[in-house]
């Protein structure tokens, strides 16, 4: 944003100060993520930049921590990754199914007690995780699902559905209901209308809600800390243990992989958001 030529000097100074402040804030936001990347290739065991790394000496870099992550002895990451993916995938499917149905109901103008029901359904997102953790732990212990995959998946469905409900309701708010009426007038039954007309139109919202649910489950520590037994360890639990006990560079290798994963999710989410904005744009 170039300034016009006639700008007075003190506004000019203010403008550049403002841009500098913004620059610092962006740096503050993004820079910490980039520290992890080079340090995960450290040849030494310490989590500081060695002198060799500062001189860009090739011998100071190695991929030993990635090797350790995959093939290391007694390595917990394989099991953790498997568990994390299983739990996150099932939790996402559950969240999408329950959340989309609920959002369809909530978007209907005939829905009674909309406000209070919406507030209840969103509450797991607002209530501090530690409280959710304690409450869900009491429940799962009572029904005998503590330390099982099922228990953790159910807990993550609770935590994930608010995101699906929010994104799908938002998509449906711009939804043109005359298309479903058109389908009905042409003789289509409600299920067929939903599958052929409604679902394709709200799909971007459903998928981006699903992404939120996936990330919530994949990154969740607090509730799993209460629920997990030895067999249900997940990636975040392993990282948590590692960060509390011995901060090894292997954790940084895992962290780098997670950053790559989050970049992929970010790109997908952005593409979906644009697509859904385009669809809504046509309706207007």
């Amino acid at each position: 944003m170039a300034l016009p030529k006639y700008t007075e000097p003190h506004y000019r100074i203010w403008h550049y100060t403002y841009l500098t402040i913004c620059g610092f804030v962006f740096f503050f936001l993004i820079a910490p993520l980039f520290v992890i990347f080079p340090l995960s290739f450290n040849a030494e065991e310490f989590l500081v930049f060695s002198d060799g790394m500062k001189r860009l000496d090739p011998d100071a870099f190695s991929t030993r921590w990635y090797h350790d992550m995959v093939y290391g002895t007694k390595n917990p990451w394989g099991l953790a990754a498997k568990n994390s993916f299983i739990i996150a995938i099932f939790a996402t499917m559950g969240s999408i199914l329950l959340g989309t149905l609920a959002a369809l109901g909530l978007s209907s103008r005939h829905m009674p007690y909309k406000g209070i029901i919406m507030a209840t359904l969103i509450s797991p997102m607002i209530v501090p995780l530690i409280i959710s953790g304690v409450a869900i732990f009491f429940f799962m212990a009572k029904v005998g699902l503590a330390a099982t995959h099922t228990g953790i998946i159910l807990a993550h469905i609770v935590l994930g559905t608010p995101f699906v409900v929010i994104t799908v309701t938002a998509t449906l708010s711009g939804f043109d209901h005359s298309v479903t009426r058109a389908a009905a007038s042409l003789g289509s039954d409600p299920v067929n209308t939903f599958m052929k007309i409604t679902l394709p139109l709200i799909l971007p919202g459903v998928i981006s809600g699903g992404l939120f649910a996936f990330v919530t489950s994949f990154d969740e520590v607090v509730v799993v800390l209460f629920l997990a037994g030895l067999d249900n360890t997940t990636i975040p639990i392993q990282m948590w243990t590692g960060l509390r006990e011995q901060l090894s560079p292997t954790i940084l290798a895992v962290a780098t992989c997670l950053i790559v994963l989050s970049t992929l999710i970010l790109v997908t989410a952005e593409l979906l958001r644009r697509r859904s904005e385009r669809i809504r744009g046509i309706n207007r």
């Binding site: 910490p32 520290v35 609920a102 509450s123 530690i130 409280i131 304690v134 732990f137 994104t167």
Partner: protein, 417 residues
């Protein structure tokens, strides 16, 4: 002109009004049935368990059920002087059952919470009661230890007779019910919880203000820059947003350690010398810095979505009417962004006040928050009823803010990404 003849009928011959009502009811039921599975699921697995926490936090039936005869006999006791023989006898009979069933240890632990020194005299009584003879239990119990002849201990026992208690809530705000049944503060040097609540509030408010001060300028820049630049800069906000919380906390642990890059930088610019590197982790500073960076996207995104809707021509109009850019900003632009500020600040505050992971990893002792305390009681002291009470006190604070948020912003107006 009677209204009967005026009624409009559908082709089936049913009055239109009735037919519409029927259709409306059918739609209502369909809408409700769609919501029902999730609603039931959340109520069973989430709302009821939170209700159970409430129950657990006031439930004190354990002691009540252990000494049923004693509390029955104590009903007639006024609590001024030592109770009568019948109370002693009832207590002896109750306690004998507990010892025979090996449950007296639990009673000792519980009573020691109420009054210090109870554990040892209960243990001693457990050993001695085997040789008790029938009759005159008052003398026999009092001869076990001189504290049994002290009326204070009997009053402490009577205080545990109700099935429900709010003592855990009092403990959470550093208060207790003393011997006379008055609610007083604990001695000054033992007021740990007050410090914890103040610190949590302090950090949550501080992080919210910092996030606002840093988030507002960049949200403004993102909203006013041309699309192609702003999309690029938006990545700086969205990448941390999507990245694992533990990864971000780990990176702050690396940055803030004593030999870390931030300290290296301070030494390099001469702010500190190499041997006076400040401790920035495992204290309040670490918690502040890391939480601000982690929660900043939650401030920027709502602000951005509001600012995006403000037409740039409004600022131009303000300037053309003679306002300096500052006046135009303050009188025109800023008031329009207030909904976004409200949304962002409340969201960050709600998230910050219940934060657990980051304070636990970088906070150390002086940077730990209420959440960490709750986890501590859940996992180590196993005082679950106290953890529940603390949790619910925190929850009521959060729900208050949530309610304000709902009134101001509307819960269905939350924007994600």
């Amino acid at each position: 002109m009677s209204s009967e003849t005026q009624k409009i009928l559908t082709t089936d011959g049913i009055p239109l009004e009735e037919s519409l009502k029927k259709a409306e009811r059918k739609n209502k039921i369909i809408a409700f049935l769609l919501v029902a599975p999730l609603l039931l699921f959340i109520i069973i697995t989430y709302v009821f368990p939170i209700g159970e926490m409430l129950f657990r936090s006031v439930d004190d039936r354990m002691v009540t059920n252990m000494l049923p005869k004693t509390f029955e006999a104590m009903k007639k006791w006024d609590g001024k002087e030592l109770p009568q023989e019948e109370v002693f006898k009832a207590f002896y009979l109750d306690y004998k059952i507990l010892v025979d069933e090996k449950r007296h240890g639990k009673l000792a632990t519980q009573m020691n919470y109420t009054k210090n020194g109870f554990k040892s005299i209960l243990k001693k009584l457990a050993r001695k009661q085997k040789k008790f003879e029938e009759g005159n239990y008052k003398e026999q119990i009092m001869s076990v230890h001189k504290r049994w002849a002290n009326v204070e201990y009997w009053r402490a026992l009577k205080r545990r007779s109700p099935s429900y208690t709010y003592s855990k809530y009092l403990k959470g705000i550093d208060m207790y019910e003393n011997e006379d049944g008055k609610i007083v503060q604990v001695p000054e040097d033992r007021r740990v919880h007050k410090i914890l609540w103040m610190r949590t509030l302090n950090i949550a408010l501080g992080v919210t203000i910092l996030c606002f001060l840093m988030g507002y300028p960049i949200a403004h820049l993102l909203a006013t820059l041309p699309m192609k630049y702003s999309n690029l800069l938006m990545i700086c906000v969205l990448l941390p947003f999507w990245t694992s919380l533990l990864v971000r906390t780990a990176s702050w642990m690396i940055l803030l350690q004593q030999q870390g890059i931030v300290n290296d930088f301070f030494v390099w610019i001469g702010l500190v010398t190499d041997d006076t590197r400040p401790e920035m982790m495992y204290n309040k500073t670490g918690t502040f810095v890391a939480m601000t960076q982690i929660l900043l996207p939650f401030m920027v995104l709502p602000l951005y979505s509001v600012m995006k809707t403000i037409s740039p021509s409004l600022m131009r109009a303000g300037k053309s009417l003679g306002g300096t850019p500052f006046v135009a900003f303050w009188k025109v632009y800023f008031p329009l962004t207030v909904p976004g500020i409200g949304a962002g600040c409340l969201l960050v505050f709600i998230l910050a006040i219940g934060y657990y992971i980051t304070p636990a990893l970088v906070g150390g002792a002086s940077g730990s928050l209420i959440s960490n305390h709750i986890a501590f009681h859940m996992k180590f002291t196993l005082d679950w009823s106290f953890a529940s009470a603390m949790g619910l006190m925190l929850l009521s604070g959060v729900l208050l803010v949530y309610w304000i948020y709902n009134k101001l912003v509307g819960i269905d107006n939350i924007k994600l990404g």
